[in-house]
Symmetry: C2
Subunit: 151 residues, 2 copies
Amino acid sequence: MLNEADLTVGQVAKRCGIKVSSLHFYETKGLISSLRNQGNQRRYRRDVIRRISVIKAAQKMGISLQEIKHALSHLPNNRTPNKEDWAKLSQAWHDKLTQRIHYLTELRDSLNGCIGCGCLSMTSCPIYNPEDALGIDGVGSVILDKALIQD
Amino acid sequence: MLNEADLTVGQVAKRCGIKVSSLHFYETKGLISSLRNQGNQRRYRRDVIRRISVIKAAQKMGISLQEIKHALSHLPNNRTPNKEDWAKLSQAWHDKLTQRIHYLTELRDSLNGCIGCGCLSMTSCPIYNPEDALGIDGVGSVILDKALIQD
DNA sequence: GCTTTACCTCAACTTAGGTTGAGGTTCTAT
DNA sequence: ATAGAACCTCAACCTAAGTTGAGGTAAAGC
């Protein structure tokens, strides 16, 4: 199980461009795992680097660590994930990102109309009718009553 | 200065679909302002609702309160902002959102190639070469050395 | 063998964007 | 005039995603 190909925390951190403390953190969150050597030091399989790259990529897409953990939990844990395994993950996030892009595009295209001109249409304006398909902004809906239309 | 048209915290909160505590919070952050009545209670001008709507819309775009505050600071403070004032804001955020959409689109389109197939090209993959034009993800670049290419 | 670097755990701190609650005051409706 | 709703301040708490530091152990280089 523990051989020369295994990596230390320091090596993994350096290669992934993150801090050792982040590796500890991801481990406490169940996103990655490690083995220990005789002296209780962490040793990582090489595929942890791929895993961390995927975590980082997902974060750039606006996916939370919780969701990432959930997605990663569908990877096989008895063997190193292969292309098809990663491809499945990738497809799910691709779709998610597509929805997010769509949402932001709508938001953008309504900007001039809504903020700029003062129309504030309650029925057509995505700013007031956000339906955030991804639910990742954490901001919550803005619900306004009719009085707003005059403001 | 203080007339019947002024709104209480409760009224503003209800109309904007946010909590009274958020109004207090935005005030401490300098995003909105209020006048006080004889009994030290906040009274808002009606245009605060527009301002809050804009704040909420900007948050949906992924803009931080600090940036929003900065943008709002360019609005005239001696008069109620007019269409042109809002339009200027709107244009700046429109451009920002366009960049963000572009970034996410690149990320998405490289997903299958990068996560799925294992190519991990250091030179062409946006996952490793993020250049986040907006700098709003707070995740930081993933900098990987060549060893990764084999992992 | 000794020094230095890397590692360990655990607790506390950080930023953003708020929320909650205590203890007290003001408004509004009857 | 008094009950109850709404308001006030201030401090503490919350989640996410980590970072920092203290106090101690392990491994690597000379």
